[in-house]
Symmetry: C2
Subunit: 254 residues, 2 copies
Amino acid sequence: MENFKEFIIEGRDAFVPCLSLDCVIFGFHSGQLKILLLKMRYDELWALPGGFVYKDEDVDAAAARILRERTGIKDIFLQQLHVFGDPNRSDSKRNKNILEKDGFENGQGDWLTERFITVGYYALVDFSKVELAIDYSSEICEWQDLTSIPSLIMDHSCILKTALERLRKEINYQPIGLNLLPAKFTMPELQSLYEAILGKKLDRRNFQRRMLGYGLVNRLTETRKGGAHKAPYLYTFNNEKYKQALEEGLQGGW
Amino acid sequence: MENFKEFIIEGRDAFVPCLSLDCVIFGFHSGQLKILLLKMRYDELWALPGGFVYKDEDVDAAAARILRERTGIKDIFLQQLHVFGDPNRSDSKRNKNILEKDGFENGQGDWLTERFITVGYYALVDFSKVELAIDYSSEICEWQDLTSIPSLIMDHSCILKTALERLRKEINYQPIGLNLLPAKFTMPELQSLYEAILGKKLDRRNFQRRMLGYGLVNRLTETRKGGAHKAPYLYTFNNEKYKQALEEGLQGGW
DNA sequence: GCAAAAGTGTTTGACCTACACCCATGT
DNA sequence: ACATGGGTGTAGGTCAAACACTTTTGC
């Protein structure tokens, strides 16, 4: 709370005015696509993790910083999604309320009640590596199933929707998985990830053939033991080829 | 120039601070992909058309306004490209010079020498419908061949490069042409557009089959007469199907 | 009639789809 | 042994690439 006060008082001069960032952070666990959400104080609503850009800071770097602070992960897959610039997207009444409830008066923190333009980002992270951290403006920070997202503040539902649409689009011409899965994974796990993203079932055999066809995964001699039934092979991603595929895209087109 | 003075003096209060827009405007004429560029005063460099967002204006709407003012075209194909947020992208020395040369003193127009974050847009327009308009900060406004782009200010070359990459990517899963071509066009013209965007030759027969296969174009009974050689058929786009394809994408993937 | 551009069709191979059988493991 | 999940192979259809011939038109 000491920090929050500093943030309010120093924010006006420290940050690029009228500009915020919001991140849709996707994770994957036990067959479910998850999203990292914050529960706001004084509010029943949830919010995407976000923040502001320091006056001398690169915008993308600010997004990476915010993600790092929140999840503890460094080399994060993070991409710009869209700029949300509706003049009515901000809820200045809500922000004023919060400031009042926290005891700020006569214009302290006024900069927060301006109209804000936000740059939406989306990130793919390895669920198992994330160490969640709450900050001074939220009381809860947790993963929520994509299938049961609560009500979100402002236009955050719209940002989330846009991120999911983007992810579903990108999966068609970019490799996905390296950032969402642990280093070693099984083919059924990878398929389950695709199914979670796309929201539909895929054929096991065709999925495997296609994946192997891309040449992005290496089969290990190990298998995942311990589960019931036949032990599936473990795979790793071929980082070089994966990187290359990210740049060049997967299927040619023209 | 009277306008320019107003712009400088009133800009601080009228616009969202530290935020600009820049547009890569693609046109197509005589087999060449063209880009609309401005020649700046006091400078050998060229620039992308751009502008600022009024405090109560939607960001995308501002981009549309800027394009409309510049090209006279209303229903423009305009999409967000990327946010360029490097703190060093602005060239505040250059801006200060311009202000001084125009006789602004003691801090008038200081707001322009701040660090700016720009939202890049790209637009596809019908070359034949554009009526160019220069404004008070530029002396020339003209189409330049993509193959011979002059030096650009700040990071505008980077924005242009990003736009071209995006266009080449999008052409793989979106219909392109409705916005770049006149209402009636021939198949070789459409192919020539694709070749200009992709920078390589395509096979006539396969191109035509694929295009017709999408069902986005209607063949007219008319042909384009007057040219030497056999007269090619004219086509129009099927607006409904085109629109639908824009939303749903062209080839399935998963 | 000849050169140049435009219209059309066929063959080939790759890939995607749909589907069935065998194997390994825990209960 | 059996139920469940995982590994693999095959036949059929679709689509895209590669390629050649015919038609029209201006000179």
